[in-house]
Subunit: 345 residues, 4 copies
């Protein structure tokens, strides 16, 4: 087994948050209606309504890709398009799931810090030939908050995107696989970062922040919820014993632990970045959450790998992700190893 | 919360088998590669190979519908067809998931005791106009073992179906959502009931027999496994922390507990059926596994419902399902209540 | 080349009606906007509105399968179902095109004379488990008028089906590949046989009655027309030089020639059937339009084939189709040959 | 009706080549098997084999979008990707038809003169993460020859692209909607421009060069032809009276008239460009075939529009397309009008 202290691959390699494991174990007793008709799911939906400060519908699923794909499927038709950043998870890491569920085309936007700019969206839509023969019809925008590169949209940026979207009649989806990390970074409320900023539907991830395959699709517009159960079922995303996901999500949102864990992961990354910078390592992407993209000389990277550190190479960088359960000592160990590796290089 | 002793709705309402919960909890420590590249999944695949007495590939998923749909997607093309019984789960209870994943048409066969007869398959294929313009091409047969009505194909029946399928160049899928119950009923080996009978790909369910959303797609022909990871990912079926499903499946198959639990559920149902028959209740479908389809006068059904018993009505019958964790006392209570209800009627 | 007098295969083997060829040739001069933005298409839509006695939208396409599939695609969603007769063209002869375009499941109904009965539709919908988990949602009914076996729904039958459909919130599609033949048989108006009977969308075929690959999708509810151009384009059904289809359809409906041709084909078939019956041949299906299903001893069938007669075998019958340009002498020749064949047998 | 002399909108607004109309009219006599089983289609396939100097399979269709989409559908799977230029017709003008038929993602490449460069394809494929989890699998490259901007790939460019494609196991599709124009421009043989350059499957268009909705899908690898009839049928692309397309394609390729017509259109455009340049008009794209992208001051554009000239605006340019039946006088008229418009401006 891997030594967790040497593991900076991703936040989905991590262990399980104690309170979520407890919630899951507690749900294991007694019988319950299957497929989400259970009391845990009902409580989860209530909890979501509380946390998001309005009545929402919420659906438990076990994969983030499934959550994104099915959420998009109620926004876009087969002859349509969905606008997203060219680096977004739905484009790069989901093997075409969004296209499979929607039939729509993903239109890729460039943008600084891996984020869509409202102005870029606007000019893309302006030249989309809406209504022209042969052009697909724009139906939705999807933002990844935070992005796969760990950058976070400000509330102003989100609102500006939503305003452009609304102007063209598009709906707004948020891929919140690391929702808590963005929330912790912005210090705003869940409502602020979603419907108050114009988000219509959210994929809320808990897995990367300590849960066991637990995500939720949350709609801020009830009309979007009507087809969701059918589309989820048709995708094989409805869980027989949904209560085991719902129990986790409910507990996840029940107090501030989710934010505390996200904050800790974010702070670990910021500390790591600061210390790496201090020893002369280039950090290529702003560190808003729990990810550090560090530029190291190739021999240093190889040296780290030989020492047993685990991480992914992303283009010219190495990506270092801090988990909710990251040990402080592991940061020390990594920084020391980087210093040695550079010195040796 | 429902009183489990009064709950005869389904085996997916049940609690979790202690050893599976333990396996899941044990997997919660340390870090592991995501998406099935972990040690638990590797051990699960080995365990499957052991249990099925040949090298197999096995893929953890969290829903039976997902397992079926993606398994079928490597057998059938969009211009093709899949033969199944008109009562099969893939036709009635999956909201079109098999069609979504395959693009193919389900061709429905009638057949005694909710089972396909080899001869019916043969004559359907004979009149399928294979190669004729405009006709879809038959690609696969899917058997539900046991069926959704609790009947079990004998090994001879399976082999006969497989022989017909092979003659026409079709592959054979088995929906084994209650695989253990069928195995316990037949008293044969997993190998006998699958590849030795001609099955090419299996959806192995553990959820209805005590697991938490844990199923596996198992291929007995490696060429079928090549596309599976891509098709799973595209369907949103790949789990970020796959180890929590794999750990359960591994443990599930590790000793005879899975069969013991299935046997117990089957025996509960057989006892229930015998005692109902003894008090004059008609049992409409042979009781091979853990389900009893009982014909009761309407007032008796209503009386049972009023007493708090939970079950589904299926056409003219009530369906009573015994779980792996069924309390013997609950059978007594139910039989007593039925007797009272009939007497009162 | 085949001798047309010996050709009873189908009405789509036939030649081209003189006036339609003229219309097509006349459209060949000058330039015109592509993709249906031309004057011929505008005139065709007007003509359809005239003929159907209300403002309609109409879209030229070149294949009946394309017309059916795209018409259904605006009625049914991917998690839905479409009810049709088990013998219908959309089920048997379109290689899954309706499923490809809609994603929906075709639910097959049995019914006398190859027609759906309103009562059968009603009881199928009653047991469709509408709203139940896992069941597909019924969205539409499709009637083939006339059926592929040449039987014709009466106006009462159509209205009864439409009433049931409406009661369950379903829309009604009519596959009118041989629309003119049914119209000639019923002697009613196009409006009576469509929207006045509750039809929402029609695939109107002209190809089998003398046109060159010319069909139209006609909507009697404008909201159904909004998505059609996009869905047609996405299916590759929009024609670059649409005017060559539109010009034919416009001319086709411009006077009573389309009905005259259909009437002639129908009468040829009725005469053929009467004369065959007179010499003792069993006619298995009521002859409403231009098709005769005749039961002949196998040696007689082989003898006819040897003599050069062309026809298809359909189950135990031979199918004899009379074309719009059927030569009366060819009926004589066929009847003589049958008489000889039987005598020789 | 539009004055053809003022119509520079596109080559699909044009009239019909006399010999093709004759071929179509001649096919209108007698009966023939439907769906492509006729003698005309057989002769068309032979003609294609002749012209392409090897045995090919060829399938008549009536739309270029349909031809492209179905051709791609035998190259790429739903979890795959197809590489093309960001300006390609399949991306911009087909409303998602390629995605609908294949399920695959179009990956857009930039490239000078609207053409893919082999090197750009190579580096895109290098960073495609082939085999990585979550990435779609590259299956095919599609080149538009000539491009939608009228530029033509040289044989060397095509071969270089094919070599890269082959290195990664990708197949090569050519969208030849204006195939004859490219052929005329290069002065090479059809074989040189296709299979000898590594093309596996071709959409051959005749509509823009004088035919009535007549295109062919041609395979240079028989294994690609197996599924085509099924996939065409499922898309509603199989024509009931296919002979009317086949007869045109056969005649189209029968002598050098197709090249003569393309040459004439190309020469008209080159003359137009030269004369516009001579009066100071900027031509923004190399004029390889029958299209001129001219940069005019806005008042001049408006003046031309007021004079009744028809053309499309494409970004900052106006696009002027010369047809196979372009009148020389119309070039004079246009150049004069431009000169006046500029002077007036």
């Amino acid at each position: 087994m891997t030594d967790p202290r040497y593991d900076f691959r991703s936040d989905n390699t991590g262990g399980v948050a104690a309170e979520l494991l407890t919630a899951l174990v507690e749900a294991a007793h007694g019988t319950a209606a299957p497929y989400g008709d259970d009391a845990w799911t009902a409580r989860m939906v209530e909890r979501c309504s509380d946390v998001f400060e309005r009545k929402v519908k919420a659906f438990p699923v076990s994969s983030g890709t499934g959550a994104n794909a099915v959420a998009l499927s109620v926004l876009a038709n087969g002859f349509g398009s969905i606008y997203c950043h060219e680096s977004s998870h739905i484009e790069i890491h989901e093997a075409g799931a969004p296209e499979f569920y929607t039939g729509a085309k993903l239109v890729l936007l460039k943008g600084h810090d891996y984020k869509i700019a409202a102005s870029a969206l606007d000019s893309a839509l302006q030249s989309a030939g809406i209504g022209e023969r042969g052009r697909v019809l724009p139906f939705a925008v999807s933002v990844t908050q935070p992005t796969d590169y760990g950058t976070v949209y400000t509330l102003e940026e989100l609102s500006a995107i939503a305003a452009v979207a609304r102007r063209y009649g598009l709906r707004l989806h948020m891929d919140g696989a690391r929702f808590a990390n963005a929330l912790a970074a912005l210090g705003c409320s869940p409502a602020d970062m979603t419907w108050r900023s114009g988000v219509d539907i959210l994929s809320l991830g808990a897995t990367k922040n300590g849960a066991i395959n637990a995500e939720a699709v949350i709609t801020f517009d009830d009309t979007l919820a009507t087809e969701l159960p059918y589309r989820m079922k048709r995708g094989g995303l409805v869980l027989s014993k949904a209560r085991f996901v719902s129990a986790q999500i409910e507990r996840y949102l029940a107090d501030d632990l989710w934010l505390a864990r996200a904050r800790r992961a974010n702070e670990s990354a910021r500390a790591l970045a600061a210390r790496l910078r201090a020893i002369g390592v280039g950090i290529d992407v702003p560190v808003h959450i729990n990810m550090v993209f560090a530029r190291l000389p190739e021999p240093a990277v190889v040296a780290l790998e030989r020492r047993g550190f685990l991480f992914y190479r992303v283009e010219r960088d190495i990506r270092l992700v801090c988990r909710h359960d990251q040990d402080v000592a592991s940061i020390d160990a990594l920084v020391d190893a980087v210093r040695d590796a550079i010195a040796a290089g």
